[in-house]
């Protein structure tokens, strides 16, 4: 009896100790995050106002001016890359989840992993070689291609992981009704996994929205409001990069403002993904 009691006490103490440890470590890891958010808000919020959001950049020396073209550019470029990445990524994810083994599966998995670990600037270079150089012009389109490549691995793996969790009995239910395999995949498996796929995509968008390197020599940036996909286009990360590396105080201030807007946008996407995940969750 004594023995058991002592053992219990030891357990309880250990339990308490580990729990305390987890709290401390969690707290520590949150410090940098809060510091970034706090500092960014402090520096950025002063420059964000209505005119900053609705005006185009002004030349050096003139005060005022905003980042409207960069906000719109970011939205356009991110949407375009999503439109490009979703069909390819979801198809590949379905294939991986359904086929599971085989040469092509192996190859696909390998290339997804490689793409995942490719530095973003390299993807920018590739898009430059593929599109900008032959077309002899920087363009929003080439930037979207670079970002789409960056998004692909996220979409592929979230699709695969989601679909793998769908019970096999569901597939059988459909097959047993005489539904052909491809229709089963498209009409039963895919809709059942839609929440995971959408969440993965939203997280993918949040990830690329702030990327600068792939845009440097593709979308390039522009002081004008441009809707032509085959012309240079501005984006928030480019504004931040260009303004922050300039020698002008006024531009530094605007770079903080742009950073603040960007982080709010990314945060919104993250929250949207979380909300979507619970909202579209499917109960099996």
């Amino acid at each position: 009896m004594k023995e058991i009691e002592r053992n219990c006490k030891k357990r309880l103490f250990l339990n308490w100790f580990v729990q305390a440890l987890v709290f401390v470590i969690t707290g520590l890891s949150l410090v940098p995050l809060f510091f970034i958010l706090f500092y960014l808000t402090k520096q950025g919020i002063g420059s964000v106002n209505w005119s900053f959001l609705t005006h185009l950049p002004r030349p050096v020396g003139e005060s005022g001016g905003g980042v409207l073209n960069a906000i719109i550019g970011t939205l356009i470029i991110a949407s375009l890359s999503t439109i490009m990445a979703i069909p390819i990524g979801v198809t590949a994810g379905i294939y991986l989840a359904e086929k599971k083994t085989g040469k092509l599966v192996h190859l696909l998995r390998l290339s997804t992993d490689i793409l995942q670990s490719t530095p973003s600037i390299v993807l920018g270079v590739i898009a430059y070689l593929w599109i900008v150089k032959p077309a002899q012009s920087f363009s929003a389109f080439s930037g979207s291609v670079a970002l789409a490549m960056m998004m692909l691995p996220t979409i592929v793996s979230s699709t695969e992981e989601t679909l793998k969790l769908i019970p096999y009995t569901l597939k059988e239910a459909s097959l047993a009704l005489g539904v052909p395999y491809y229709r089963t995949v498209l009409k039963v498996i895919l809709p059942s996994g839609i929440s995971g796929i959408l969440t993965g995509t939203l997280l993918g968008i949040a990830r690329i929205a702030g990327e600068t390197a792939p845009l440097l020599f593709t979308a390039f940036g522009s002081p004008y409001l441009n809707f032509n996909l085959f012309k240079p286009m501005n984006a928030l990360p480019l504004v931040i990069f260009n303004y922050a590396s300039s020698p002008y105080l006024e531009w530094w201030r605007q770079a903080w403002g742009a950073s603040f807007i960007l982080i709010v946008m990314v945060l919104c996407f993250n929250l949207l993904a979380k909300w979507g995940a619970s909202k579209w969750k499917i109960k099996f």
Binding site: E172, S174, A176, R183, K187, K283
Partner: protein, 252 residues
């Protein structure tokens, strides 16, 4: 002699090299309830899955021998057509989680892209749910998700889904093993009512259940059909020693 609807001749089924069914010769009578019994792993599920040709979709799944659906050779038909003629209900209820109760019932039409008129669909949903003895419980919220129902209701929804296709035969794989006694009794009653319009093959571990519902019983042991006959005769005077031992609870 009554009509036979599903007939197997020298049926062998394999998973890769593993032979699961050996020389099964079985004649399932039309508009009767046939129970398939036997210890775990003896191949009951596999036999059912041969009838609707799901077996060949399992990795390494392979069939040798003959299966007849009435007068037609079932193995020469398109598997998709076979599965539309022979419905199946699984051990665990598996309604489609993305669909409403209504859509679940007509899922066989929707998923196959078979166009039906709105009134016709309403009609099919109502009659199928009535046949599955679920109509009264769900008629007021047909457009809610099927997964909100209780386990027993879900299983009856799955039965309705299979019945909506007007199958010639209905395969039930331990349909009540995941359910409480009340839902089980409910489904047993339902099965007995259904036999006037559809042939039923039911796999069950429950000797009492077979006794209550089945007209005929087949006893499988290690992939072989040991004995087949009217349930009463099989239960009261088994010819084979293995059947007798199984029924008296020596194994299983």
């Amino acid at each position: 002699m009554e009509d036979k609807i599903l007939i197997t001749e020298k049926l062998y089924a394999y998973y890769g090299e593993h032979c699961v069914l050996k020389d099964v010769n079985l004649e399932i009578p039309k508009f009767k309830i046939t129970a398939i019994m036997g210890p775990s792993g003896c191949g009951k599920t596999t036999l059912l899955r041969c009838f609707n040709r799901l077996h060949e979709l399992s990795p390494g799944g392979r069939i040798e021998g003959q299966i007849w659906l009435g007068k037609t050779n079932l193995l020469s038909l398109n598997p998709i057509m076979v599965r539309r003629k022979i419905g199946m209900v699984f051990q665990r209820p598996n309604p489609f989680p993305t669909m409403s109760i209504y859509d679940n019932v007509i899922a066989g039409y929707k998923l196959n892209g078979i166009k039906i008129k709105r009134e016709e669909a309403d009609q099919i949903v109502e009659t199928s749910l009535k046949k599955a003895a679920l109509w009264n419980e769900v008629k007021d919220f047909l457009h809610r998700k099927g997964t909100f129902l209780s386990g027993g209701q879900q299983q009856r929804l799955c039965i309705a889904r299979a019945l909506a296709m007007h199958p010639e035969a209905l395969l039930l794989d331990e349909p009540t093993s995941a359910l409480d006694p009340k839902s089980t009794a409910h489904i047993e009653e339902l099965i007995i009512e259904l036999k006037d319009s559809v042939t039923i093959v039911i796999v069950t571990h429950n000797i009492g259940q077979a006794g209550r519902v089945a007209d005929y019983t087949a006893f499988l042991y290690l992939g072989e059909l040991v004995e087949f006959g009217p349930t009463e005769r099989l239960f009261t005077a088994p010819k084979d020693k293995r059947t007798e031992e199984y029924l008296s609870g020596k194994f299983g």
